[in-house]
Symmetry: C2
Subunit: 401 residues, 2 copies
């Protein structure tokens, strides 16, 4: 595979043509037909035909030239952010959330409810579909306005098919055809990915748009991460990239993990692990949220436990830093709400153990997208697919038949 | 950055145009002008003009249709593997090696000599240039036939500029403009990368052409790795991706590393570390090569030491497996010549400690490219750049002025 995504805009012979006009307009800047012809190297007449096709599809539109120079106002073309729409779906262990967003990922409307993922795919996806239909209706959009649906689920997903594979906390979902089931109802492409992967996408979109190398670590009931390398979300060979919850940490050598192994990171440093550990020492901690509450109230034992969890996570992150050399590590998930203590522990180990050259410009920071990371990432997954050159081409072809 | 490299070949409206003809022909299969027109969606006349331009550049050529079906033989076009040439350069700690290769990476001729990289950039690059000129002359090629030069160096390289950055074993090379210096002499683009990165490229090219997720680990005087994720060689934010020699391994907590830190992997598991450890127990081991010789002669202490080094490397690799989910981990470098003992140790830990889903299809294997990995990777670095859509476009533009 050859990376041609950095293609130059200069294209005098129309020889490479590695970008089409919509890809150029996705930066949000309006351009005239003449500018588009100069950038693409296409004939003015060809540009006109393509702009017309994109306008018919609702993907671009004319903008009035507000700063007229006195002459005839030039007719500028720009991405029509609200010309079409996508749905972003966040399926968690015990909730679903669905958002209708515009083509830049801005949330237009949203809804959600409590439902356990363990109820199985049909009950959960039925509720997702109902919420999605209600959002479309409430915003006055027809099903024809919908371009794609992005879905995050709390388990590993086979990237090529969008099917969950052996998801530990999703009984009944193994190999279930999520894209097929939702696609049948909405008639659009459905992209499915692991929840932590889409949180990485969402966080990058919101807070780190220019960053090509980023790791998003979710610390909640379990621990997982999403890896963006060289500008692309990485799934790995079998879709398990970023699955750092079960790496070995010596301090936990004797602790049995729910996966059946011993010494897993998430068995000593996740929210549920801390709840268990603090509970054993007499505190009333049933969940990670209880731990967060104790920390916020200044309980020293809880603060120390969270800081140590940060150190344990830092142990694993040290190797991640050496291997991937990220510019940013974002720590999110419910336990990250325990303030700076978790991050301080991670920083302590990473900055002690890593080579200076790899940490000199490294930022380890709290999630800025917070609870919105997943829904935003799911929308971006749908938008990236819907506005890809291949999909746009297919839409244009279909519309001119 | 949007990945458009999987663009469909079907292009009825010429709307995406994400591949040009040379990119299509790089798979080695000959095609007729009619086929090229069908694949690209370009007019037959446009295809003709572009083929002519590529023929003039020596990048493609006509092939006779050997299996004529009886009618008029169709004139097929194919990549002209030996129409132009590149130089691949492998600069090691104590040697240089230069190869002249064709456009598929096949070595046409090569030369090399012993020279310490610590002599500094001018003496070393002068010898590289002399060897390169001699190879061009000996093969009857002119400087005009040369398209690009790929160079691997034993230290970190800033990807955007090709300059070594704080390379520990390359005194005098820090921020030296290697591309500018060699480019001045040969008048072609010069691509520079870390030696382990180019070994990963070379190994993939030779042995794993379809694999998108691969880690190449070099175990020699030091330890380092090259990471290919999602089909692309990853450099990370500052060019240090893959630098796993200095990750912390608990077994080495008391051992001082040459980097100044304690507990680094390479301080207990590299060839030089094993030579030191075995030397302290009375064996005559000055270098990693001595260790390899002892293993080959069946020395039990040496075999045990190499196996333990494999386990230590496996500790670090376990987290790499969780984070990247590679399909293949290749172990190369001089210590890998100690046979299966090193790999057996690594496998023992990785398969014990990793989640089954991440290791079910994982292969951990010895380098097939062996000592040729670097020179082959350096050539591929040059070829990928020279035949990229942007470079081909620039060449065509220049040739038609």
């Amino acid at each position: 595979m050859i990376d041609i995504s950095d293609a130059s805009h200069s294209n005098p012979l129309g020889f490479s043509g590695t970008r089409d006009m919509l890809q150029i307009l996705r930066d949000g800047r309006p351009r005239t037909r003449t500018e588009l012809a100069a950038i693409t190297g296409l004939a003015r007449s060809t540009v006109g035909l393509r702009v017309d096709a994109l306008v018919r599809l609702g993907l671009v539109g004319a903008v009035s030239d507000a700063v007229s120079t006195g002459g005839r106002p030039s007719s500028q073309i720009a991405l029509a952010a609200s010309g079409r729409t996508v749905l972003g779906v966040d399926i968690g262990a015990s909730h679903i959330r669905v958002a209708l967003t515009d083509l830049t990922g801005r949330i237009v409307d949203e809804g959600g409810e409590a439902i356990a993922v363990s109820e199985g795919p049909i009950p959960v996806l039925t509720r997702v579909a109902d919420l999605g239909k209600a959002l479309l209706e409430r915003s006055g959009r027809s099903a024809d306005d919908l371009l794609a649906i992005g879905v995050g689920v709390p388990g590993p997903v086979e990237h090529s098919t969008g099917r969950p594979t052996n998801p530990p906390i999703m009984p009944g979902w193994d190999r279930f055809d999520v894209p097929g089931w939702l696609g049948e109802i909405f008639g659009v492409p459905v992209l499915v990915d692991n929840d932590v992967n889409i949180m990485a996408l969402g966080e990058r979109e919101l807070a780190w748009p220019g960053v090509d190398d980023l790791i998003f670590v979710k610390v909640a009931t379990g621990i997982g991460s999403g890896v963006i390398s060289g500008g692309l979300l990485q799934r790995g060979d079998r879709g398990t990239a970023g699955d750092i919850g079960h790496v070995y940490v010596a301090r936990g050598a004797d602790v049995l993990c729910r996966c059946g192994n011993r010494g897993c990171l998430e068995a000593i440093a996740s929210g549920s692990a801390l709840a268990r550990i603090l509970g054993e020492s007499g505190l009333a901690t049933a969940t990670g949220q209880d731990v967060v509450e104790l920390v916020k109230r200044g309980n020293v034992d809880a603060i120390q436990a969270v800081r140590q969890a940060g150190r344990d996570i830092g142990e694993a992150l040290t190797i991640c830093v050496s291997l991937i050399n990220p510019a940013v590590i974002v720590i999110g998930g419910s336990l990250a709400q325990a303030g700076e203590h978790l991050i301080a522990g991670a920083r302590e180990i990473v900055y002690t153990r890593s080579m200076p050259i790899a940490t000199e410009h490294l930022q380890i920071t709290q999630s800025k997208a917070g609870p919105d990371a997943a829904i935003l990432g799911a929308s971006m997954l749908a938008i990236h697919h819907a506005l890809s050159p291949e999909r746009v081409e297919a839409m244009v072809t279909a519309s001119t038949r």
